[in-house]
């Protein structure tokens, strides 16, 4: 039991219900996250630091980071958006080159799958 008032019951990264947060719109399960060298500011939540630490050795998609941290995908997107805003994380779209058409992507998938057969 403690009498110290808590800042809030639900941490900000979990309290995503219905609100739109600027900066999260472009995120997808397959958005690739890369940690930058700059450490996250101290005032961010421990979960932000966990995400950044997880990504320090290499890149992961949002959904893989969520699974490793055992967080919902939506919460992971909020954390990632905060870290991008703070300048310690970079995010890129799953499909890097804009000129790729659906057809060329599926053709490449087919060639790749057949090569494994």
């Amino acid at each position: 039991m403690t009498a110290v008032p808590r800042r809030r019951m639900v941490p900000a990264y979990l309290a995503t219900g219905g609100r739109t947060r600027p900066g999260t719109a472009g995120f997808d399960r397959l958005t690739v996250l890369f940690a930058d060298r700059a450490e996250p500011p101290r005032e961010l939540e421990p979960e932000h630091h966990r995400l950044w630490e997880l990504l320090r050795p290499g890149a992961l998609t949002v959904v893989e980071a969520a699974a490793h941290l055992r967080l919902p995908v939506s919460a992971t997107v909020f954390l990632a958006a905060d870290l991008v805003e703070a300048g310690c994380l970079r995010a890129r779209a799953p499909i890097p080159r804009a000129q790729q058409t659906d057809r060329s992507i599926v053709e490449r998938l087919l060639v790749g799958l057949r090569a494994l057969r």
């Binding site: 399960r29 290499g58 890149a59 893989e64 699974a67 599926v106 060639v111 799958l113």
Partner: protein, 228 residues
């Protein structure tokens, strides 16, 4: 063998399968079907990483929790969505998401389906009708799909024609007999799906120079039924 469950992953980064830092193209397919039909097995068979999962919260009405502004006390359930990853030659990474087949998960299902190239619907001959619901959902979503019938030992062995009739498949929809425990059979199922997805895409006026691929080799022998 199962998902990474214990300990802080940050404590042991060697367990985390990082992506090589390159300009890879990431794409996803859904592996959908009723309870116990072999979704996780197929993903595990093909995945290069230990299969992972996310816990996705749903309300009892089936709406994703994100949609519930100001209703934090609303009863929620979580559903585990497992997935795997397969790096392919050509700088591609394929993600396979196992998605629950029940209608009440439709909003979550739609969210995962966004951006997917197609779906592999799994079925079991002992209970084909259990796959109807997910086939309806896939069709409503407008996702191209193929059906893989997993062969369980005590299952009645129907001919492909009988199975097609039971499932009321469109003539162009591929139907394969599969064993989700076998890599070759699972790859054949994805190849049949990818061929079907490609058939449904409009031909290009001019090939994109950077992304163009050499002509595809002759299709590997597969269990795919001949399609018109």
């Amino acid at each position: 063998m199962d998902s990474v469950r214990s300990g802080s992953p940050a404590d042991r980064p060697s367990r985390v399968g990082y992506l090589p830092d390159r300009d890879q193209t990431l794409m996803k397919l859904l592996v959908a079907g009723p309870f116990g039909v072999g979704k996780t097995t197929l993903i595990r068979t093909l995945s290069e990483i230990a299969t992972l999962h996310t816990e996705e919260a749903m309300t009892e009405t089936g709406r994703p929790v994100d949609d519930l502004a100001g209703l934090p006390e609303k009863a929620t359930t979580t559903v585990a969505v497992d997935f795997g990853r397969l790096t392919l030659p050509g700088n591609l990474v394929l993600y396979m998401f196992g998605t629950p087949g029940q209608r009440r998960f439709f909003p979550l299902w739609q969210d995962i389906a966004r951006g997917a190239l197609g779906a592999l619907v799994l079925a079991d001959t002992r209970r084909l009708a259990d796959s109807f619901e997910i086939m309806d959902m896939v069709e409503e979503q407008g996702l191209p799909y193929a059906v893989a019938v997993n062969c369980f030992p005590d299952a009645p062995g129907h001919s492909v024609e009988v199975l097609r009739a039971h499932l009321d498949l469109h003539p162009a929809t591929p139907l394969l007999l599969c064993d989700a425990r076998e890599r070759g059979a699972s790859l054949d199922a994805l190849i049949a799906l990818a061929e079907h997805v490609l058939d449904g895409l409009p031909a290009e006026a001019a090939p994109a120079p950077a992304a163009s691929v050499p002509p595809a080799p002759a299709p590997a022998a597969s269990a795919a039924e001949e399609r018109p």
